[in-house]
């Protein structure tokens, strides 16, 4: 694995119009992430974590500065190009509402591959493999409403991982889970990070998540307050 920067954020600011004025959610942020990192953006509510992840995921664009992800400048991408970037290279895991309720667990994971025009045989193989990774293969035929929150998050991980993305963005993935499930989920991701060298970027204020991170970027009022690299207890199996 090369150690080039998978994400380069340079002097990025994001301002939202509110009422007559503007609200500054991110202010002049410069930060880089390298391939294979297992990193997190941490900070109090409203500090700009989600805003930053959305820009990196090309769901939003910076007001100022440049955000380059996988060599692409987010500000310059068309709808189509940003969709393609997400489709081919990024995986997303959200706090809730991750799964499409009308589809089964299998179909939810399969959806990402349908968008990539993979054949049915390829899809089946890849989906089952991804469900194995997260221990959900046995529930492939179930509807999201029939599984627990923790199981749902594991399916979401499988869906993010099934296309073997370069980068997974996880916005507070454990916020709605109990401690046991939270640990299990984060451990699963850590394993995938090690086996597949997928880069993971979290946003979290969950201590349990933080304990697994190799790096924590502290945000406060839209600014980087601290960028710490940690040797965590679970670095080696």
């Amino acid at each position: 694995m090369s150690h080039e920067n998978i994400i380069s954020i340079e002097h990025v600011s994001k301002r939202f119009p509110v009422g007559d004025g503007e609200f500054t959610a991110l202010s002049d942020i410069t930060i880089y992430f390298r391939r294979g990192e297992f990193a997190g953006v941490v900070g109090p509510s409203g500090s700009g974590k989600t805003t930053l992840l959305n820009i990196i995921g090309s769901l939003d664009t910076p007001t100022e500065g440049t955000a380059v992800v996988m060599g692409r400048n987010i500000s310059n991408l068309s709808h189509k190009e940003s969709a393609r970037l997400r489709n081919m290279h990024l995986g997303f895991i959200f706090q809730v509402y991750n799964l499409l309720p009308v589809y089964t667990v299998f179909e939810n994971v399969e959806f990402a591959l349908i968008l990539q025009h993979k054949s049915a045989a390829e899809r089946k193989k890849a989906v089952m493999e991804a469900l194995e990774w997260v221990g959900m293969a046995g529930m492939a035929r179930k509807k999201p409403s029939k599984i627990s929150g923790g199981e749902g998050q594991r399916v979401a991980i499988a869906r993010a991982m099934v296309k073997r993305p370069d980068l997974v963005l996880a916005d507070e993935p454990t916020a709605n889970l109990d401690a046991k499930n939270a640990h299990a989920i984060i451990q699963t991701m850590k394993n995938l990070n090690r086996e597949l060298h997928t880069t993971f970027l979290f946003s979290t204020h969950d201590e349990k998540v933080m304990s697994y991170l190799d790096r924590m970027v502290h945000l406060e009022d839209g600014k980087v307050a601290k960028d710490e690299f940690i040797k965590t207890k679970t670095t080696k199996p």
Partner: protein, 424 residues
């Protein structure tokens, strides 16, 4: 992808059921109303043709100008020759002679005293001629309430209602009082051979039907007739061919100044039929347009609600790497599929209604008692093959239009805002 969409439509009742119901109702109404109104209008036109206008009608210019007064003093003369030449020149039509006459019907009692009188709406047709087709054309065998069709001179059919009003029975005598073609008084007695009810208020009130030879004698109209009617061999009115015939015929007399010269009119030009004929053609398209608009608005609004609910789904799909354009297009594909399903349901229901109303009809005789319109008193729908598909036009168009409108929100909203729905 389509398979994925179909799965979602079938599984998510919220997504499919309401629009399918809305579309079914709209399509049902489109089909049943067009089928019904066409049936009714078609019957009206057909009735009018049979009883009044023919597909083509020849009169003298003078008669045509006053035809509501049945001015037999202005009638055609030498009709034998005229009819012969019509048959020769325009063999695609059946040509028949008729005389309409007004006057008074008197019902004498055993002593010869009048026991009742009433104005008559007399119609003399070629009753005794087997190849005139008039008996069938006026549906007389099925319209007879009692008695039989006249078989010899001086027999008459009278309206059932009329007979009851004058307390007349089969075999009774009636006396016709009126004026001849030359303006002198005439009296003639007839024996009632039967009573009829055509189911048209205008015909049933004072109807007296006799053979045309009796009328000629009684009205002094040797070789004369008020009108000569042409009916196409197909039994259906085609305006284009009727127009050609009409123009060809009228060209013969174009340079004549004679007010008694014959002149031909086609159905469309008589009794304000032009409007009706145009309506019949435009009904289906009118309903299609109306229902496209109504249903689009309804579906747009339900789509808006459904769409809001679905921003979550769109958010996830965007994150999975679908483009906004692709999501929008799948939304429209979905609309087409749902539109087809709804149209299928609506068309089936609509056709069932049309077929039912074609057999049973709706009896409006109670409402029609005052009118003089040539209208059948049982209104039936009519099945035409275009009813099989016209429902799909509003069904699919409305669904697509509705979704197009509500789906614009996908483009209007920032991608990140769509994502807000994913957060608590």
């Amino acid at each position: 992808m389509i398979k994925f969409l179909v799965k979602a439509i079938l599984r998510d009742k919220n997504r499919s059921l309401l629009p399918i119901i809305v579309i079914s109702i709209g399509v049902f109404l489109t089909i049943s109303l067009s089928g019904y109104l066409r049936g009714v209008m078609g019957d009206m036109i057909d009735q009018t043709a049979r009883f009044e206008t023919g597909h083509l009608k020849v009169m003298t210019r003078a008669y045509a100008g006053n035809k509501d007064q049945m001015p037999n003093d202005l009638a055609l003369l030498g009709v034998n020759e005229l009819t012969q030449s019509l048959r020769k020149e325009f063999p695609n039509y059946q040509w028949v002679e008729r005389i309409r006459f007004g006057g008074l019907i008197d019902a004498p009692d055993a002593e010869g005293e009048s026991k009742g009188q009433g104005p008559s709406a007399g119609l003399a047709i070629e009753l005794f001629s087997d190849n005139s087709g008039e008996v069938e054309r006026l549906n007389i065998p099925h319209s007879i309430v009692s008695g039989r069709i006249p078989q010899k001179a001086k027999e008459a059919l009278i309206g059932d209602e009329f007979a009851r009003k004058l307390k007349l029975d089969i075999g009774d005598e009636i006396t016709y009082l009126g004026t001849t073609m030359n303006g002198s008084m005439t009296m003639e007695s007839f024996t009632i051979s039967g009573t009829v009810r055509f189911g048209m208020a205008a015909m049933d009130k004072g109807a007296v039907i006799i053979d045309i030879s009796d009328a000629r004698n009684m009205l002094d109209m040797e070789n004369g007739a008020g009108e000569i009617l042409g009916f196409s061999d197909e039994g259906v009115y085609f305006d284009e061919t009727a127009k050609q015939t009409e123009q060809a015929f009228n060209a013969y007399y174009a340079n004549s100044n004679d007010t008694f010269a014959p002149v031909m009119f086609r159905l469309r030009e008589q009794n304000n039929m032009a409007n009706y004929l145009d309506y019949v053609d435009s009904f289906a398209s009118m309903f299609v347009v109306i229902f496209v608009i109504i249903m689009s608005v309804v579906l747009w609004n339900t789509g808006l609600i459904g769409g809001l609910r679905r921003y979550q789904e769109f958010g996830i799909r965007l994150a999975l790497g679908e483009s906004k354009g692709h999501i929008y297009r799948t939304l429209l594909t979905e609309a087409v599929l749902v539109g087809i399903l709804g149209s299928l349901a609506g068309t089936s229901l609509g056709l069932a209604a049309v077929l039912y109303l074609q057999v049973h009809g709706i009896d409006i005789s109670g409402m029609m008692s005052g009118t003089t319109m040539m209208m059948p008193s049982v209104l039936r729908a009519k099945f035409t093959t275009d009813l099989l598909y016209i429902g799909f036009i509003p069904g699919v168009a409305a669904m697509v239009a509705g979704n197009m409108l509500s789906g614009i929100g996908i483009y209007k909203r920032e991608t990140a805002t769509l994502f807000k729905e994913l957060e608590v």
